[in-house]
């Protein structure tokens, strides 16, 4: 069976918006991070699919997605560390709780 290209893109778009929703809606900072991952993966899917189906003769997309994954890992690491730092002070990682700075 072959799946039309569009459906991949629809999938990725869905994934993207799920990620956005998660980022905006989830309480826990960790899960917010996870939804960021979703967004990144949505992008990755785009890259890979575009490369595989539209421009099969090159590798840019694949490479790019690899880099994205790598960088995402780094990003998450730093984010986690900061979140831990937040936890140290607030004793929770609720997104609502970090609004000392405002206006």
């Amino acid at each position: 069976m072959n799946i039309p290209v569009e459906s991949y893109f629809i999938l990725s778009t869905l994934l993207f918006f799920i990620g956005v929703y998660g980022f905006v809606a989830r309480k826990n900072l960790i899960s917010i991070l996870m939804s960021v991952e979703l967004i990144l993966n949505a992008a990755n899917i785009n890259f890979v699919v575009a490369n595989r189906f539209i421009f099969p003769e090159q590798l840019e997309g694949h490479i790019y997605s690899l880099f994205v994954i790598a960088i995402a890992a780094a990003e998450t690491a730093v984010a986690i560390s900061i979140i831990i730092n937040v936890y140290r002070q607030k004793k929770n990682i609720d997104a609502k709780s970090i609004n000392e700075l405002k206006y």
Partner: protein, 467 residues
């Protein structure tokens, strides 16, 4: 390529210095790192004199004279930041001084790559290299709750925005089939998907330049971060991002300007206005400068919308002068904060009576930011407005100018606090350390002189021709 290489070398050396002598002799290691970076800066000037356009990673990395200039500019800015940070690093931030230098330099490296990238991949790498260490820098002072919060907000928004951006890039890739800027400019058309890609990309980079509506993290992060880091954020990273943004627009989307000119028009108007409106009510000076920097970013974008050589030249010139001006302001704020921990505008009442020098420098900075002649800010503003006007954007220029009235209002508020208002408990007379003193003197001289040194502008203009 020399810049990057030597920077990497410096980074490693700094790291080593911190590891080896860092624990025993903090001062020495710090001085060493500053010295090393100073050397790097000077070397860079050397190299940019004998320059040949280089290209590496099969065209992913390419550099021209204006890139050199901007990198040198960033170097100088970083040096100034280091000078300011020295006191803080030797007192409050003793334990993490080493990291400070290393991380700052790594963000700088990221910006280098970001500036001279010829391909979205390298650009993305550069961007992330610039922003991820930045988060740790913001979080650097672990004791303060604000710092952590600011860092959290920063990293989350950064991650989010970079996600959005690469999603956009993926769309561009899907439509244009390449990630090279020139390739994109060849294949770019008003195909909706690619326009969406463009918009997502603008959003991603707009986060770094803190354009409205992608700016909301700015104030909180600026306020929470250690002041030196705030200075670095507000000047270096913003400037680099703005320049990179213009480069990319020029390279990748130049043959289809209708797509982004309209967008930028609105973004600029909103950015300037919102920045000013929010700045009016601020009492905390760091936060105040955050919003002021937002509106300044709006002015910088005028160069982008001009989309011409002159636009590029005036953008660089503006960024340069903005750098010195803002660093002067931050220099005052940080040295006062380091010694008294006061950052509120009310604390500055009657500053002139106790610390005349500081007050005067701050006033110069404020006037320069407000674009009052004969200080440098006036010239940069005038030229960037001219660049926009050249493209017939008179209405935009007019709106921007009306906004300068508002901005002048809040800049004058600071002046008023320092000079006119009387305070029953004014700040004590402050003895600022020599490092910051040097930094401040440099900034002051530049504020007073740069406007009159016309060769500087022509120097930039020649290089920015066609870049």
């Amino acid at each position: 390529m020399n810049h990057e290489i030597s920077l990497v070398v410096v980074m490693i050396l700094v790291l080593l210095a911190d590891l080896t002598i860092g624990d025993k002799n903090k001062k020495a290691s710090q001085l060493l790192s500053i010295g090393l970076f100073l050397a790097h800066t000077i070397l860079c000037f050397q190299w940019s004199n004998s320059f040949s356009p280089t290209e590496a990673f099969s065209g992913m990395y390419l550099t021209s004279e204006i890139h050199m200039f901007v990198k040198n500019m960033l170097n100088i800015g970083t040096v100034l930041v280091f000078l300011y940070a020295y006191y803080w690093n030797t007192h409050e931030n003793k334990s993490h001084a080493g990291e400070f230098y290393f991380l700052t330099l790594s963000t700088l490296l990221g910006m280098y790559l970001m500036i001279s990238s010829g391909n979205f991949l390298l650009f993305y790498i550069g961007l992330e290299t610039a922003s991820i260490p930045m988060a740790t820098l913001v979080a650097l002072n672990k004791k303060r709750e604000e710092s952590a919060e600011a860092a959290a907000k920063y990293i989350l928004t950064a991650a989010f925005s970079s996600g959005v951006m690469i999603f956009g890039i993926s769309m561009l890739y899907a439509t244009c089939g390449t990630l090279y800027f020139d390739g994109i400019s060849a294949n770019f058309s008003d195909f909706n998907l690619s326009i969406m890609g463009l918009v997502f990309f603008i959003a991603g980079i707009g986060f770094k330049i803190s354009l409205v509506p992608f700016h909301l993290w700015t104030a909180d992060t600026y306020q929470g971060a250690p002041t030196s880091v705030t200075a670095y954020l507000s000047v270096i990273s913003k400037g680099a991002a703005a320049f990179a943004f213009m480069c990319i627009l020029m390279k990748a989307f130049s043959n289809y300007p209708e797509a982004w000119k309209e967008i930028m028009w609105w973004i600029i108007v909103v950015t300037i206005t919102v920045g000013n409106l929010f700045a009016i009510r601020q009492k905390n000076l760091k936060r105040f400068l955050a919003f002021s920097s937002i509106s300044q970013a709006g002015y910088i974008m005028l160069g982008v919308i001009a989309g011409s050589d002159q636009g590029m030249a005036s953008l660089v010139f503006y960024t340069l002068i903005y750098m010195f001006t803002n660093l002067a302001a931050f220099g005052i704020i940080s040295s006062i904060e380091d010694q008294t921990g006061k950052v509120s505008m009310d604390d500055y009442d009657g500053l002139y009576d106790t610390n005349p020098k500081l007050a005067v420098v701050m006033m110069l900075a404020m006037f320069s930011l407000g674009g009052i002649p004969p200080f440098a800010g006036f010239f940069s503003k005038f030229f960037i407005f001219m660049a926009a006007a050249e493209q017939g954007e008179y209405l935009l220029v007019f709106l921007a100018l009306l906004n300068t009235i508002i901005s002048l209002y809040y800049y004058l508020l600071v002046v008023k606090a320092m000079f006119i208002k009387k305070s029953d408990s004014p700040l004590p007379t402050i003895k600022i350390d020599n490092m910051s003193k040097v930094g401040l003197i440099i900034c002051t001289i530049c504020i007073l002189a740069l406007g009159f040194i016309s060769p500087l502008y022509s120097f930039i203009a020649e290089r920015s021709f066609g870049f």
